[in-house]
Every structure is written in C-alpha cells, then in structure tokens.
Symmetry: D3
Subunit: 272 residues, 6 copies
C-alpha cells in the first residue's frame, strides 16, 4: 500500500510535468548509477527502485542489499531504461534514500553501543509527518525495534493523561474499563514514587522518563518480574552506556529519527 | 489547501482512534501551553494551531508571531478547549513545529552570515518527501528565498541533461523549441568553459556547482549583465563568507532543509 | 474522521442527485420523526444525526440516548429542517441505525447472559467490509469489548501461522525476533497439548478454539497466572452459560456482528 | 471500478501491516483451500479471488462457478502463492464471500418460492452502507432482479413525497415538469383509492405497500394494462405464496439483503 | 457534493499558490464586480459564488437570478472580501460562468425555436469530460430537459448493440432478461423498418436517427400510443422547425453542449 | 499521472455500470474503427487509446499519428478486443478526441496565419475547468506554445493587481521582495504610458492588452531589447495578420481553447 505514498511523493515533485526533461528528452535510453558519497547503512533501496518503476520502462540491474554497510563511492543502485523516467525520478528517489539511510545509519550506531547487553533500542513517534511508515521501517533496517506505531495500537499513559485523570491509578482504571484488553498498557513515570504506584496497578511496561542512572538501577530492582522497563530522555551516543544497566529491557530515542542527518549520495547517467 | 495535508498527518498518528485518550478522557477541558526548550526562530505556528482546530472545540489564546526569535522556556502557543482534542493533537502539532522551526532557525543563521552583502539565500529540492510545501515555507520564514518549487516551474539544465543532449548548447536549443517561453532557464556549470558556453546561449541564470572562490570571482566577471549567478555545493556556515563574493546573486544550500535539527519543545496541560 | 465514511455512504445512495425529491421539492420545511417499530438498544444515533447535517440545514430537536433500551413505537430522533435534506438522507440514516442498533441489541443479549460472572464479551474481525469502525462501535454500545481492530494492533497466531512456522514455539520465536514488543501476543489453540506449548512460551493470551466445557475447565486451571483465557467457537445464546466457567476471562463471538438482524424502524414527516 | 472498493476493504483490515504474518513469514509458499462449512449458493468468488490478487503473487487453481449450489465441505476456491498474501487476505476474502453467498442463498429461496409463477423477485435499497454494489450483485446471482440502484436512477414517489406535494397527482405533476423523461415513475400506494389516483396519472409502476392478498387481487384488476404491479411489505418465505397472485409483476423484499445470515466458510493452508 | 468538483478546479489553477497575488497582496479588502460583455442567459452563478467562498472570507452582495437573460454590461455578481481570495478565484469562477452561461444561452435559442409546439428539447452525453453534472445543469437552466445522465440510468440500444446482438429484437430480449425493469428502454433506429421492429418489442421510446422530415412524419404515425418519439441527428437552429412535427415528443441535440461558445465576461475590483 | 484523470472521466460516464451493454453483451469480441466525419488535426489519440485499455482486454491495431491532418472519412483508431470494453469506452474516448482535435485544428489555423513571421502563438488559462492539462496539450499538438500553466508558475501582473498595489512599479517591487527569483515577471499594460512604466522596472515580458496595430508598432519599438512582447485581446483569424507586426514575440488567444468547435467523429464495430 506504500505505492500511494510514493505516487504522492512523485506528484509533489513532478506535478504537471518536468519541463527540463520534456524539453531535452528525445527518446534516449540511459544507464544510471546511484552511488554513496560517504559511508553508511543502506535503507530504502526498494522504495527508490519502486519510484523509477512507477515512472515506467526502467529495469534494475543491481541493488545493494538492504541493511548492509557501504563505503564511500560504492554503487547502491544501477538502472537501465527510458531516459525521461530516470531523470524525472532522480530527486524523489535520492531524497528517500538519503533520508532513510541516514536514519538506518544513526540507528546502527546506537544499536552498536548496546552490543553485549540484552537491551533493545526502540524508536518513538517523533517522525516527520507523513513519513512514519518509512522512517520506522528504516529504524528496523538499522537494527532497532519499533515502539508503538501510532495512537491506536498501544496504551501509553503520559504526564498529561495522569493530570487529566488525577493520578496513575485512576488513569489505568479508566483505561481498563473502556479499552480493549488486547492492548499493552505502559505508564511513563517521573520518579520512583510514581513507579511504585504504576507497578501496583499491574501494568505491562514502564517508561522511566529522565531518570539518572542510579534511579534507573533502583527502578529495575523494583520492576523485576512486574513490568518491562523502558528508559528514555535525552539519551545520546555519548551517554547511552551509562543507561545500559542490567535489567533494563529497552532504551528509546527520538533522535534516531528526528536528528538523523541525510547521507550524501548522487546519481550519474551514461547513454546506452 | 494545506488542510488536506494536515488531515493526512493527523490520520497517520490517530488512525481509528487514540486509545489512551479514549480510555482516560471524561469530558474534561484543558489549557495547554506549548513551550520552547531551547532558543530559535518560530515557524509553523499557524499549522500547529490548525492541527488542533481540525480536531475540534479548541480556542487559541496566544500564538507567538511567526518568524520571531524565542528564547529557552518561552511560550509559543496557548490553547484552551476539549481535553481530547488537545491530547490527541499534541504529537502531530509538535512534530510540525519542531521540524519547521528547526529549518527556520538554521536558515536564519545562513541569512545572518550573508548580512551586509546583496546576496540572497536560496533553498533546493532536497526536502523531505511529502513536506516540500511546508519546508519551503519555513525557509521563507527564516529569511531565505525559494528556488524552484518542483520540476514544473523552472528549467534547470543539469549534468545529466547535458549528457543526454550532448552539450549545453543543444540542451538549451531543445528546451527553447519545445517549452513555453514563460519559464526561466538556468544551467548548472562545472567550470569556466561550461560557463562561457552557457552564457553564449542567452540564458537567465547560471548555477556554479562546486566552484572555488577564485573561480567564482572569475565567473561573476564573465556573467555580469548576462545572467544571474547562483553559487552552490557544500557551502556551510563555516565557509559561506568565502563565497559571499560581490556580484554573486544567490547562494543555495540543501543543508538548510535536509540537515536542520528539530528544536526541542514540549506541551504541558492544566485542567480548567 | 468518520465524516468521510458517512459522505461515502451518502454518495452511494445519492450520486448525482435524488431525482424524486428534486422533482417534488419546492422549498418546504419538514419535521421528521424516526421511530422504532420493535424494541431494542439504540446505537448509531449520532451517525444518523450527522448524515442529515452533512446534507445541510437540518436541526436535531431530540435524540434518544445511545445505548439505552427503547420499546416499540418509541421516538429515536426528531429533526426539523429543509425538506430535501430530510428526504434525501432518510434511507442512509435508517440503514445505519437499523444495522448498528441490531448489533447493539444482540450484543446486549450476550452480555446479559454473562451477568453475574467476571467474563467479558469480545467481538471478532467478522464485520461487514468497510463497516468495521461502526460495527465495533455498536458492540461497545451494546456492552461488549472489542477484540483487536485489525491485523496491525495485536499478534494473534492462528492455525495457518503455526503451520507456516512449523509449530507454536517457532511461530512465537519468530514474532519476538521481528515484531515490536508493544503488542500483546495471543495464540489460538486446538487442544490441551497446544495450550501447554503456548503457555510455555510466555505469551499474553490464549484463544481456546472449539473446546468443550470440560476442556475449558482444564485449560483455565493450566493457564491460571500465566495467560488470559479467551473462549471461542460457535458459542450462541443457547450454550453460552455452559462456557461461562469461572476463570475464563473472555468469550468472543462473531455472530454478534455477522448474524445481527436489522431492527425495524421508520421515518415519518410532517410539514411545518 | 470495484478494485477501489476492495482496496478500501483491505486497507481497513491491514492498515500499516499484518504484524502476525510479518513476524512469522519467511518466504514460504502456500496452497490454500476455501471450503464451505454449510450448503448454499456461491456469490462473490470473483471478488475473493481479486482480493488475493491485489495482495500479489497468488494464482487461482480452481474457482467454483458463481451462482451454483454447493454442499457442506465443498471446495470453493483453491489458491497457490506467496504465503503472506494468502494469510493477509484471508479474513477480507472470507468476509466478502460469506456475506455475499448468504445473500445469494436467501435470495434463491425466495426465487424458488415463486417458481411456477411469472412473478420476479426484486431487492430494495436496504443494503449495508458502502456495500450496495456488491449486495445487489449477490441478489442477481441468487436469481433476483435489482430494483433501482439508488436515488438517481428511477422516480419512486413514497409517502413523504406525497405529503410534501399534497397528494399523488401534484407529486407526479411536479416530477414531470422538472425531471428527465428517461426515468420510470413508480408510486407507492397505501390503499385502493391511492392506487386509482396513481393510475389516473399515467405512471409506469405501482408499489402496493402492505396490502392484504385480497386487496392485491383487486389492485391487479385495476392496474391491468396501465402499470406494472410491485407488492411489498413484510413478505417472508412463509407468506410469499399468499402474495404470488396472478397479475402481480414483482414482489420486493428488503430481508434478502438486510436479514441474510453469513454462510460459514473457512480457509486451510498447506505448504508447497 | 459538487464542492469536491469545485475544489478540484481550484486546485488545477492554484496548485501550490498564486505567486502574483502572494507577491502583491498586503491584506487589502476589495469589492469585485463580475459583468457581462455581451447578452445571454445566466447559468452557474451559484457555482461562481461557491468558488470564492471556498477560498474564504468573501461575502456576496448581489447575484443575478439564475436562468434570467442579461444584457451587455450588466452586473452578474458583486462580492466583497479579502483581496487574495477574490484575485485567486477570478479565473476559475469566470471559466465556469462563461462556459455554463454559454450553454444555457444556446439552449434557450433552441427552446425558443420550439415554442408553440409540445416538443421538448433534450441534451446528450456529448459533454466535456469531467463537466457533465455542470453542463447538464446549464441545459436545464436554459430550458431543456436532460436525456439520460450516463450509461447507468437508462437503456439505449444503439447501432453497435444491435450488431452485437444480431438485431433489435434479440438486443431487447437480452436486456429484459438481465437488466432491472425499473429502467426505460429506448432504441435508436435508422429507418422505418427498424422502427417497426423496435415498436413490436414493446419498448418505451424510439430515437429516430438522421430521419428526413417526411420519414419523421411517418414514424410519428407508426409510433402513436406505442412509444415516445425522439428525433436526433444534425439538427441546428436553421433546420429545427422542419423537424418540429406534431407528435414528436423530443428533439435532442449534442450541439447545445459541445458547440456552445463561451460568453464574454470580466471582473473588475475596487479597493474598500 | 493522467490515468487518474481518465479514470475519473470513465467513472463519470459509467458509474455503477453500463446497463445497456451489460444487458446485451454475451462475451463477443469486436473490431472497432473510429473515423473522422470531417477534416482536421488529430489530438488525443493516445488518451482515447488509454481509455479503452483502462477498461481492459483491448488491443490497438492502428493509431493515426498525433498532430497530423486527416481528411473526412479517414480512420483514426482501430481496436480489437472484448466487446464490452469497446462499447463502454466509446463515448468517453470520442468526447476526448473530438474536443482535443477541435482545439488542435483551430490552433493550427492560427499558427498557419502566422507563417512567415517569427511570432509564436500562445494559449491562455481560459480552459475548461478540469481539462487544462489536456487542452494545453492539444494546443501544443496544433503548433502553439503554452503560456503559463496556472497561477503558480509565472508572475503575471494584471489590472487588478496594479489597482491593489497602487501601480505597476509598486506591484513589481512587492513581487520582487517576496517571490522567488526563478519566475519570469510579465506585466499586462493598457497603453503606452503603462508600457513605459513597466519597462522601467526591468521586467521580462509585457502583455499589450487590446492595443491597436499602430500602438503595437510603437510598443515594439519601445520594448526592443528590454522585454519580450505579447499581444492579446480579441484577436481572431480575420484580424490576426494586422497584429503580426515585426518585433512582436507572441500573440495569445483564448479562443483557441474556449471557442474551439468539436470535430465530428464516430465509431463503428464489426464482430470478429
């Protein structure tokens, strides 16, 4: 169903037509090579390929395997086909590939930083509007797991919900009364007192928000056997090992999506 | 017409419903304050406001003026209304505001770096797929000008088009034969020889791609009175002054969109 | 977001125009009364109201409370407004109201049959294509809880998945490796051996498919403290008490949606 | 054009992805058999087939002929292909097939009850919102004829229109003045006086609403050579023969769509 | 439901924004007068009004009555409101008004030519793709009646259908077997032999295609009391009275839609 | 991307189905010939072809080259395939072909009238709402060039913008301040004084609106080397040579789109 999404992206860039290519093109066939200009992890190769195929009459000769590291100068995608499809699709394909590979590459660094622990990396809902499906895909390619996809597939009681209900206990009670039992319930807690209240409600998962490492250690002790433990809040590549405490189940980070830098790539063509 | 876009963003995050809020909400009314957690330039306040209004029964009490600098801790948007609309819209509104303000803030830094010159900053088509309208808006808020919006509103002859046509002259000739005269023609050139060829075709604008400052100076001399001059290629805040050469009309940068970092912001609610 | 759905329903019945009403209507204003022709539980009153409002210039004078029982002949909705909106919306509003109230009414009977137990009634994905959001809403109005909404919000390992993976254990292992930990995992089991295998995998919920009451009793004993227990398979109003065994958490039934009969209702108008 | 409809149905059930199948699936190919668990008339086989094809890489090995009776246990559809398409499409395909075959099966019973007469069975607009195209198709498969599809393709003057216009004669006059002559005009009448008024207007068809058999007989006598006669109102399989009076052209029934029970079917897979 | 259509028209002309108005506009409010530059019949005033309202913050001060004749220089629509909405909507509103009034004006001439007879003017399906709803509306405004709207609301057996079925009789038989009896059946005939065959099938309406006036007279005699008679084929304002033969029910003409000339109109603004 | 447009056109004519063809069709295969009934220039053959292909199972045997003149009776398109696709697509394909060829034919006459000059013919935005992409395509096929496509791809300062800004100079200044430099700026002028003001602003193109030939000559003299000159305003085939003055760059005409007459064409089928 992502075809509709890709068509919308193409429509955004093409609209009623690429006037440069319409002017220049006289039926030539081209070979195009998309190449990395810096090292990273590839994500989105299949979507880039699909972008060209949607424009028509383009064949893929080679596509580097998704999730694999590449070095500077390496070929990522080689195409052959009608020159207009190749020139018209270039920017949309590159924008996708550069953004998604940027996310996968950054995610992989976080995942590497957790090697040797049992802790898994989770993403958040801090994704570019309209791109969540693709950006969460890139996180998985990079080795992370996805947290909930959206507001409809898990209960996550945060500060503002507690305030609305007048406390964790009442918030959980209200949810249990109305919401289907098929969803996990997670509660975001600010301190150890809130943690104890949350644990006493029999929930599935706790999110320790902005805890220091010592409090995380204590929280892990309290939660053992009662709930999965997620640690979050301004964790970066510098400090992640401080939070990689035995007994923590998940570390989540918004920065793997919202602060990922685009990787540099380019496309060159030759006539056939 | 951006309402459709915002509705699509809301649909992405909400889908069939926010199960946490549906569980917790019992008709409470809330006041919400969106606040900056670091300094920057505001962009997207009107879109954030619209996100909440689309969800219904929310009134805006205060909105900081678009394009104005704010400091850490400042209030950006104050709302009052039905608690469910406020909680459900939070993430979509913040994602927009954080991304767009990030772009405006970075753009402003580039624009500041050009102060005292007549050179204007331009963006590129290196925008997040599906977000171009909004991201180019943020560039304008930050003080930049937009380059072409898409493939349909200006002719820009780049490397691959030259290769297709067998040269700049033939590419320009083909475009003139087929494409409406209402569009400006720009040619991307790699060196001074290409520049001279392009200028001899009577085009409107040249894009000096990856020229060093000395060559830019020579290019400016050659182009005077013949074409507008745009300089591009790995220009950043460190080296931009080296390229801010008298006679250059525009400096364009992809990084103001693709490498802008999200600004940190948060929303807190109180019951009414 | 259900407005799009209602607009699609109206479009289906109206298309390019109601030629009878266009022929007859000369600006008259009408009062309309929607009335039950048999007893039941009301569901969908708000949607029926919205149908008329979408057609324009109609005011609701009275709407019976959602989820309340009504008797034969009772008024459910009283409207006043432009005669064309009222006549054109009649069939779409009634079709919705009759279908949804039919589901709520049947659901209530199942819920009543479980009174005095701690067992909650769940629905299934056996809903009319395109109507799931509305039909699951009607189940809640009738007093049931919703099982997963769709394929994306809970893991439910059924026969065909076991066969694909070569067994329950391997199916669960594969899911854990790839799928976000925020989703509950339920396994459908055919017999007590499968149940024991499933329980040993540490899953959240088991679905006992077509178990006889004695096996349900044994299953409950085995599952205690390990997983929530759902009983399913050809349970109807006649035999539901046989399955209402202490320790069962949920009984689910497809028939509350797919076999609900429409309730009889009608609309009468008077001129103002 | 029904592909859009089927895509919408799939989207409803799949959304951002089937997390169970995504977890379990490792590229296996499957054979799937859809089988009846009770006897009936098949309708919707082509739509079910299309559901799987839209998901991709599935071949149909056998499909039972549309409109043919099947017995308990019979194979209705046999597929081979990629395991994920088969598992993901199962519920949508079955929901369609069970609902549509249920309608065709009930329709056939009504049609059988009219055997030996010249009376044809008609449906109504009492169809599930969003499903009219498919449900009316199932009626035809079952041997019935369709009444008007929607408000735009026939004039049918009912009680509320008469009240609006102040009588049958005025209602017909208004329609003739404004509406294209290419549409048939039918008038719903409550008694013999109304029938005589309607017939005197030179209309095409009368709908005898809730007439008893004796009045139907008299109505037939009055209408002969003047208008087609349709009998309607709480006619069921028990009393339909009482209304199957010589000279009646059509008997219409809402229950063949709104009260049809889903037929029981299931899908089993084997690995290839 | 025509709002979607108007939004699509606006989207076509505006896309990502009116760059001239965006450049010039500084919040000014304007009064705008749309005026006829030649005489005609007004059609589409309500749609033009809606175009401006969709753009927002525009009030209608005066709108000339639909279907009324206007003379050169007359005011058709007077608006007040935000200058950008008025300037941006101008072209779309005028294009609609000029096209639809052109159709209504030409239709009125045909209708006038039939004055004193009982013959009614019908349109055809020869409408601009995407504009049928609006163009057929303009025909009604001009005093014509609409023939069938599309392929779904009347049976019209033409040459190619006869050829497919091997004759009129078989074509009618096939239709009766499969198609709902609620639709009128019309047969297009090329000569008097075909007419006699068609009439013998008991159809509702005949279309005499390219008959000369004498044959029309004979056809009328044969059809009396058996079928409605429509005359068609290259009838224009010059020869229409030759075909306005007593007993003919309808004359249909494609030219009232496909050959209508746009009426000349313009919009002038003043600042408030 | 025009497929969506064609699907919408088909949907308009077909809706829920062609009841005549559904009634008559029994699987026959047909050959169809679309033929001109008068001479002209072909435009839209590819779109007509696509219309049939979208309906399925139709092969094109011959298609006359786009932009070529044809004489009365000539074959334009020959198809073979499933009879229902051919009969159902006929009207939509013909409506497109007749309208677009009408535009190309009229455009060619204007272009011919300018032969021997360097003046190029331009179209305007006076196109049928929803058809701009296709109608502007037909203009190119006829030998004209397209003026701006819509409000977003060129700045054109007209009367109402001047009034808003209080003059040409201020309007140009405002545009330069806000709008991207990649767009050409054209100013519509009413007289020679306005022309001089416009030229003094350094714009790209002037539109001489309703100038008489003598004033055009003077305007050309003033504009030489400063701006491209476009002449517009009630220019028709009779007076176009009067305006074909040396130094004029473009003559634009709304009548080539809004006053083009449909060319007469028809489709005949034979069984295979």
């Amino acid at each position: 169903m992502f075809k509709d999404l890709l068509l919308r992206f193409l429509e955004e860039d093409i609209g009623r037509g690429d006037i440069t290519t319409e002017g220049v093109f006289r039926g030539e066939r081209l070979r195009a090579v998309l190449r990395a200009k810096e090292r990273g992890i590839l994500a989105g190769g299949g979507f880039a390929e699909e972008v060209f195929k949607l424009l028509g009459d383009v064949k893929v000769l080679y596509r580097r395997e998704e999730g694999q590291p590449f070095s500077e100068g390496e070929e990522l995608l080689i195409l052959e086909g009608s020159g207009d499809s190749i020139l018209i699709g270039e920017r949309t394909a590159l924008n996708l590939l550069q953004r998604l590979s940027g996310i996968a590459t950054l995610t992989r660094k976080f995942v590497k930083a957790l090697e040797g622990t049992k802790i898994r990396l989770l993403d958040t809902r801090k994704t570019t509007p309209g791109m969540r499906y693709l950006e969460k895909y890139a996180v998985r390619v990079g080795g992370g797991l996805n947290h909930r996809f959206a507001l409809y597939d898990m209960v996550l009681i945060k500060d503002n919900h507690k305030l609305l209900a007048g406390g964790i206990r009442e918030a959980v009670r209200r949810v249990r009364e109305r919401i289907s039992p098929v969803y996990r319930i997670e509660v975001e807690v600010e301190n150890l007192e809130e943690l104890e209240e949350a644990l006493s409600c029999g929930i599935d998962m706790v999110l320790l928000d902005n805890f220091n490492p010592d409090d995380v250690r204590e929280a892990v002790r309290l939660s053992r056997g009662k709930a999965l433990v997620e640690v979050s809040g301004n964790i970066n590549l510098e400090n992640i090992r401080d939070y990689a405490i035995d007994g923590v189940d998940f570390i989540s980070s918004g920065s793997i999506t919202h602060s990922a830098r685009w990787l540099d790539m380019s496309m060159r063509v030759t006539t056939l």
